[in-house]
Amino acid sequence: MSVKQISVFLENRPGTLQSMTAVLAAKGIDMRALSLAETKDFGIARLIVDDVMEAMTVLSDDDFIAKTTSVLCVEVPDVPGGLDKLLQVFAKENVNLEYMYAFLGAKNIDKAYMIIRTSDTRAAEQKLKKTGLKLLSQHDIANI
């Protein structure tokens, strides 16, 4: 059960990120999570949104280069050691993380959500399932 993350190519200069958020704002796209990867010249904005189809359409209509990538969204208890428990699974199962970022839910204030990109999404998903940790679906994302 993976979810779709949108990655957007941005030049590394003032105003480019805002030009993207302006497009999303105009269409009422709700962002759940955002992470930025940057180099000297360019950056990649990674977003989790409520409506992936709509967001992809408005971005490409406005000449942004955007791609979707499968990532895992895992619910962890928002308590000390919550993330560690999750990462123990990956360490034990020898799963390599490419990147990860976190967000908090609006409804469930005692939960945190980790967006995880691994080199093999399907394998990581199988391993997580065995542990009983909750993986969120696209539908869940729109409703938290």
Partner: protein
């Protein structure tokens, strides 16, 4: 002993060649008059009818075609036959605005492949050779042209297309490829990779290479020849006329023989448009004598070179063209090195980029800087920062190999490169000299 693919044509006497060209030109002008309304209108505006064209000496009466005409006529305006008779298209990169889409009938493909087979034989290839075609395949004409020529010759053809350098080298070694066809900048890159792998010329089975589709220097030729232990041959062509093989080098390597039974060449003064005598530098103009689907008449290539009809000791009688210098009005001098935007464009195409670029030249602390800005495309974009940085690095290396000077490569957002009147501004020179 010099060998030819079509000896009766390649060594035809000058008189016979002129008779052949006269006959074909008359036929072709009638074909165009009857089938290409766009060009017929141009002829009518110039007050010329097919009756005015009796021999090739009358060609100066005919109007020129330019890239601008092809853009106006895009996509079907220059089509010389019913679409049902066409079997393929190829297309230019569209760097200067709209793409040129060239149509081919089976006859057009046949004559093009003959031209490429002539080039292969002139470079020493036989049906027993293994010809690796490392030009790109697809809309670009490079791969298809040499691939077809190699088939005609009956050589074993290895259609690797461009890229995947490790695999290219593996095939060269494992299949004992003897002839390599690619762009000179890619040949340089392959040679470097082979050297890094510790391969000496003795380990490399190649004996000849046919390198074209971009401007290259004698220095580059010597470097490639030395590092791979091969003889390197130049080839010339353009999509508008079919593709590579319009002209090619023989063993003498004193200019490229134009396949003038199919392509009639003239040199004109680009300002006055007067036809210039042999051995005088000017703009190269071609008339395709046989092409049915995309019949170019007096097409201005914008390539600057000379023509010579002096006898060549290879036995071929066809007129020779000197290596084009590129477009003289485009040349930049950066750190003392001549740079044509077209060279950078070629590298971009080789590396799989869309040729949407801008060159920015500046002078920082008395030293010239060169930056190449390239628009990112959806095909190239990945979510992985490392992969994009590697692409940037590869492109920098390829530009360095082509130009001999280093450039900074910046990937920019789509459509961010300034365009004026539909044409991208390719060069920004900020130097105050």
């Amino acid at each position: 002993m010099e060998r030819y693919f079509q000896p009766e044509i390649e060594t035809m006497s000058r008189d016979k060649m002129i008779d052949l060209q006269n006959e074909k030109l008359v036929k072709q002008i009638n074909h165009v008059w009857n089938n290409v309304p766009y060009y017929r209108k141009k002829m009518e505006e110039a007050g010329v009818t097919p009756d005015d064209i009796k021999t090739i000496d009358d060609i100066h009466k005919l109007p020129f075609l330019t890239k601008d005409d092809l853009r106006k006529a895009y996509p079907y305006g220059m089509l010389g036959t019913d679409m049902k008779n066409c079997v393929r298209i190829h297309s230019t990169s569209g760097t200067t605005g709209k793409r040129v889409v060239a149509f081919y009938t089976q006859g057009d493909i046949d004559l093009w492949e003959d031209c490429c087979a002539r080039a292969l034989v002139a470079a020493g290839a036989t049906k027993d050779d293994v010809v690796q075609v490392s030009y790109g395949f697809g809309l670009f004409t490079g791969g298809a042209g040499l691939n077809g020529g190699s088939h005609k010759l009956g050589s074993l053809t290895v259609p690797t297309s461009s890229g995947f350098t490790d695999r290219q080298i593996m095939f060269i070694q494992d299949l004992q490829a003897t002839v390599l066809c690619c762009t000179p900048s890619y040949a340089t890159y392959l040679a470097e990779k082979m050297q890094e792998m510790g391969l000496t010329p003795e380990d490399i089975p190649l004996k000849a290479g046919i390198f074209g589709a971009e401007a290259w220097s004698e220095e580059m030729r010597h470097d490639i020849e030395k590092s791979m232990g091969i003889k390197a041959y130049d080839i010339y062509g353009l999509t508008e006329l079919s593709g590579p093989g319009v002209a090619f080098e023989c063993s003498e390597q004193q200019g490229m023989h134009i396949n003038e039974d199919h392509f009639l060449a003239e040199i004109i003064d680009p300002n006055t448009l007067e036809v210039l005598p042999d051995d005088t530098e000017g703009e190269l103009v071609f008339t395709a004598l046989d092409k049915e689907a995309f019949p170019m008449i007096r097409y201005r290539t914008r390539d600057i070179c000379t023509l010579t009809r002096k006898k060549c000791s290879c036995g071929r009688t066809h007129v020779r063209m000197a290596k084009p210098k590129g477009r003289s009005d485009d040349m930049l001098i950066i750190r003392g090195v001549n740079v044509f935007p077209r060279q950078i464009e070629t590298v971009l195409l080789n590396e799989g980029y869309a040729a949407n670029y801008q060159i920015i030249v500046d002078r920082v602390k008395h030293s010239d800087t060169l930056e190449v800005r390239v628009e990112m495309t959806p095909d190239m974009f990945t979510d992985n920062v490392g992969e994009i940085e590697d692409m940037q690095k590869n492109l920098m290396n390829a530009i360095h190999a082509m130009l001999g000077i280093k450039a900074k490569v910046t990937l920019v957002a789509p459509k961010s490169i300034a365009r004026s009147e539909g044409k991208a501004v390719r060069v920004i020179d900020k130097r105050k000299i």
